[in-house]
């Protein structure tokens, strides 16, 4: 049994309660804010010595000095002389601890007087109620980090039932930017989840939205791991290696030549798939891109009409429409609109099929604008390249890189992908049973104030109902106080990295002691404070640096390609499908066609992934008989005049 490091004390002014107690320690004791301690009561209760587990939330230090002036006088006003005093003043280290657990749990009484011990690993398990989910045969623990204090190294586990449902779910991370906390923590936690997620609970995958910088762009590349991190990995039972299965998705740039991602270096394109959607995909989520002023009841009705009756259907000519239409792309939709409006103009009509001409103009304007606002993502041609809904694979990370996109395009991507994921999970045909969706910058997507956007409504829906489907939200933001309360409130687990002092001064953190808030404001890299349904108080842990290449290193090692020529873009896109393709071949095939036609052919080829890439790509072009150089007609040979021809013929 270890030596006692303190004694519980209580005074009338500072009494102990069932949820808080005070103790003093030697000056050199290894106790600090966040240290877990165990109190052994002196008097047995029902024949059992009570054990109380607590976490230090506040510390006080003072001497017997009654007034600072006494110290000044005692040293003749010279701080230097103070160092020569033969005796240090009597000094106390007094700590306040919040109760984590009392055993026996009933009757719940104020913490008794007793000796205080540093919690050993098994004490930590009991204190945090981890013993209930780390049982042999029913272990649902997911290591999240190591609690470290005074020589105790204890692995802290989250309960998968409360992290991924069904009991509770979702995880939210808060922390200042630039300290490798939020993204690193998620990367580490996903690695731990993929390693320790109980097999009997089924398969699991993750969809990560990379909304800024290159942080998530190199998850399949090994990163630098220090010795101390290796030890942590070993302790936590996770192999320090990058993710084995990662798929990247990114739309094209507005020009449509290169993928609009930090990961567009040729060496890394193997697992990068273009993300392109057509009219049908976008129209279902038009609400995302159109604000309330855009979509009144009339406009909504017209959009519904188009979705139901126009897109992908033969739409015959009528009194207004001059010709039959089959609308499959934005270009065709625009032609359809143009036809209607011209028809109305000719007949001086004000409405078509109950839709007023002003509404038609407005909807046309807004919808046709989408392909411009979301250029690179939305194709006029209608070509669709999407996430593999229905064939998601276990322990695979799907990264959707939207970092370089306009806000509208980001919203559209986010809304559609999450909606599709939800639909598939409802039908149980996504391919995996559990899916983690990671979204950073939640301040932006689910703000506490501001307009009620489609994206925010959807995030609220996931937060409130996702756990029943296996759809789990891992979210992150710098300012938790600015995120919608129902989103963070529904996150069963909350992680906190180093915090901004301004953020800590908001009412949401009032439940934390001043010392805990101070610790939060000064956390080192790799340290987190955790709140989890099983833990009655927040716990501080260390987690290892993710074993993947960090964004900055990756972008230096694999620089982002600048905008390239059309031929080079085609070569880059097709070569992963057929390494024999060369630039001269591409140049020869595409020389006669417009940029639009070439891009259309590329998109079709990438979508089809044919066996004979060259043949398929070539077949996408209309046959144009190449011009042949005009043959100079052979001039008839001039007969030579016989020298002896007297007539000159």
């Amino acid at each position: 049994m270890s030596e006692a490091l303190g004694r519980v004390v209580a005074t009338e002014r500072k009494p102990n309660t069932p949820h808080e107690f005070h103790f003093w320690t030697a000056i050199n004791s290894p106790v600090g804010i966040g240290t877990i301690v165990r109190v052994d009561g002196a008097q047995p209760m029902d024949g059992q010595i009570p054990h109380i587990y607590g976490i230090v939330v506040e510390g006080f230090s003072y001497t017997d000095l009654q007034s600072p002036m006494h110290d000044v006088l005692g040293h003749d006003g010279s701080p230097t002389l103070a160092g020569f005093a033969s005796t240090e003043r009597a000094e106390i280290r007094l700590y306040t601890a919040a109760v984590l657990r009392q055993i026996p749990e009933e009757p719940l009484q104020p913490v008794p007087m007793g000796q205080v011990f540093l919690a050993a690993e098994e004490d930590v398990h009991v204190a945090l109620r981890m013993d209930s989910y780390l049982k042999e045969g029913a272990n649902t623990g997911i290591p999240v980090g190591v609690y470290r204090a005074g020589g105790t190294d204890a692995v802290i586990y989250l309960d998968a039932e409360f992290l991924l449902g069904p009991e509770a779910a979702h995880l939210n991370i808060t922390g200042v930017s630039g300290l490798a906390t939020k993204t690193s923590a998620v990367e580490w936690l996903l690695a731990s989840l993929f390693t320790h997620f109980p097999e009997e609970k089924g398969s699991i995958a993750a969809v990560c939205f990379n909304v800024k910088g290159p942080d998530l762009c190199y998850l399949d590349q090994p990163g630098k791991i220090e010795k101390s991190d290796e030890a942590l990995y070993e302790k936590l039972g996770v192999e320090p290696k990058p993710f084995q299965k990662v798929e990247y998705f990114a739309p094209y740039t507005a020009k449509g030549l290169a993928l609009n991602t930090f990961r567009n270096n040729e060496e890394l394109l193997d697992n990068v798939t273009p993300l392109t959607w057509g009219l049908r995909e976008v129209l279902q989520y038009a609400e995302v891109l159109l604000n309330k002023d855009d979509i009144d009841a009339k406009a909504d009705a017209l959009i519904d009409f188009i979705t139901e009756n126009v897109v992908d259907k033969e739409f015959p000519a009528d009194g207004i429409l001059q010709k039959n239409h089959r609308v499959q792309s934005f270009a065709e939709l625009d032609a359809w609109f143009r036809d209607i409006l011209q028809g109305l103009e000719k007949k001086n009509g004000e409405s078509w099929r109950t839709h007023h001409v002003a509404t038609i103009r407005k909807v046309r304007n807004r919808l046709s604008n989408i392909s411009t606002r979301c250029a690179g993502l939305v194709t006029d041609s209608g070509a669709v390249s999407d996430l593999p809904f229905g064939s998601f694979e276990d322990k695979t990370v799907y990264v959707v890189d939207v970092a370089n996109l306009e806000e509208d395009a980001q919203d559209l991507i986010f809304a559609r992908i999450v909606s599709k994921l939800r639909e598939h999970l409802e039908r149980r045909d996504l391919g995996v049973k559990h899916l983690v969706v990671f979204v950073d910058e939640l301040n932006k997507y689910a703000p506490g104030d501001g307009p009620d956007t489609y994206v925010r409504k959807m995030l609220l829906d996931i937060a409130e109902r996702g756990r029943y489907l296996g759809l789990v939200l891992f979210s992150a933001q710098q300012f938790r106080s600015q995120v919608h309360r129902r989103v963070v409130g529904n996150s069963g687990t909350a992680l906190f990295g180093r915090m901004d002092p301004d953020e800590l001064s908001t009412p949401g953190y009032a439940v934390l002691s001043p010392a805990t808030r101070t610790k939060l404001a000064t956390l080192e890299k790799g340290q987190l404070m955790i709140r989890h349904p099983h833990f009655t108080q927040p716990i501080f842990v260390r987690f290892p640096r993710p074993s993947v290449m960090q964004g900055r290193e990756g972008s230096e090692r694999y620089p982002q390609s600048s905008e390239i020529s059309l031929e080079a873009a085609i070569l880059r896109a097709l070569r992963p499908l057929d390494p024999t393709i060369t630039l001269p071949w591409v140049q020869e095939i595409t020389a006669l066609y417009t940029e639009q036609e070439v891009i259309r052919a590329r998109n079709a080829t990438l979508l089809a992934r044919p066996n004979d890439v060259k043949a398929y790509f070539s077949s996408q072009f209309l046959k144009i008989i190449p011009a042949q150089p005009a043959q100079r007609p052979m001039a008839g040979s001039i007969r030579s005049v016989p020298e002896n021809d007297p007539y000159g013929f």
Binding site: D64, L73, D76, F84, A85, S86, T87, E88, A90, E91
Partner: protein, 333 residues
């Protein structure tokens, strides 16, 4: 020595209940009234002493003293006493006396309790058994128990018994508690002198115990000046000492005590204050070269003037280490 007050402990309350069973009609005083020590019973006096450093008492500056000077003391000793009147029986005071003493050693500039001789806290009843015959048997039983009874009505050296006057009996009890405290302090000091490894700063004189009075480790620092060991012009020298000055060394040989070397030392500037302010008398065992010894010890004592012992009212003379002993004893007694 500290006089403190707080209610009797559980053990004493149990003893008091037993006492009340034997002695019906005791009126108990709620909480117990603490009695301040009245100090020496003799009037303040002047007593000449033999000068052993030179031929006449002089004021001498302690040489080589600076604020950076280090103290040679490795430990401090002090005792406390508490006198509580917990009840009356027809006006006769029923007193509980608590005495305690501790040696606190200094390790790396921090004070800690000496492990060789643990602090002692002793509680006893002080009763005039002559006037409470019903308790005589109880006194014999109490000796078996954890608490003892001290008879405050025994005859003095001249064979006279004290009167039944409550004040007389209370003074007797107070004096008896004081003696208990002195004996306890002496036992602790003797233990240190036998097993200690560095000089000890003792609050008060050292002449009661032969072994302490002759130990090179014991240094007694007397703060009260009930008896001044100078007279005539020498008084002016003592009162005129400036900060960092001491008197010549003289020999103190009180009745029934042991002879020691002594000198006065002014710890703090006393301009505009009481002439005894910041003045202590130091007692050490007699040694050769008293000047060197007095200078060395004086430097150590001067070095103990920081940190200040405020808010204690005796801070001008009270070393912080002694205050630490008192605070420690207050906490455990």
């Amino acid at each position: 020595m500290l006089v403190s007050s707080s209610g009797p402990d559980a053990e004493s309350r149990a003893a008091l209940r037993a006492l009340m069973r034997r002695l019906p009609g005791v009126s108990v005083m709620e909480g117990g009234a603490s009695v301040e020590s009245r100090g020496a019973s003799d009037p303040p006096n002047l007593r000449p002493a033999t000068i052993i450093e030179g031929t006449a008492l002089r004021a001498l500056r302690v040489p080589d003293f600076s604020p950076e000077a280090q103290s040679g003391f490795g430990a401090f000793l002090d005792g406390t006493q508490k006198v509580q009147v917990v009840g009356h029986k027809v006006g006769l005071p029923i007193v509980i006396g608590t005495v305690s003493a501790a040696v606190r050693v200094r390790v790396d500039r921090r004070m800690t309790t000496w492990g060789d001789e643990l602090p002692r806290v002793e509680r006893k009843f002080y009763l005039p058994l002559r006037y409470l015959p019903a308790l005589v048997e109880l006194a014999a039983d109490a000796a078996q128990a954890n608490w003892q009874i001290v008879d405050t009505s025994t005859a003095d050296r001249s064979g006279e018994y004290p009167s039944q006057h409550p004040t007389v009996l209370l003074e007797r009890a107070t004096r008896a508690v004081e003696q208990e405290r002195e004996q306890l302090e002496d036992r602790m000091a003797e233990a240190w002198c036998a097993r200690g490894d560095s000089p000890i700063f003792i609050d008060g004189g050292i002449s009661r115990s032969k072994s302490v009075a002759s130990s090179p480790l014991a240094v007694g620092v007397v703060k009260s000046h009930h008896t001044l060991y100078v007279e005539g012009d020498a008084l002016g020298i003592v009162f005129g000492l400036r900060k960092g000055e001491r008197t010549s060394v003289f020999r103190v040989s009180p009745r029934s005590r042991h002879s020691v070397m002594s000198w006065y030392l002014r710890l703090r500037g006393g301009e505009g204050r009481d002439p005894l302010w910041g003045l202590v008398r130091v007692e050490v065992a007699e040694r050769e070269r008293p000047s060197d010894r007095a200078n060395e010890i004086s430097r150590w004592i001067m070095a103990e003037t920081t940190p200040l012992s405020l808010p204690d009212g005796r801070w001008d003379k009270l070393a912080y280490g002694v205050r630490d002993c008192e605070e420690f004893l207050r906490a455990i007694s």
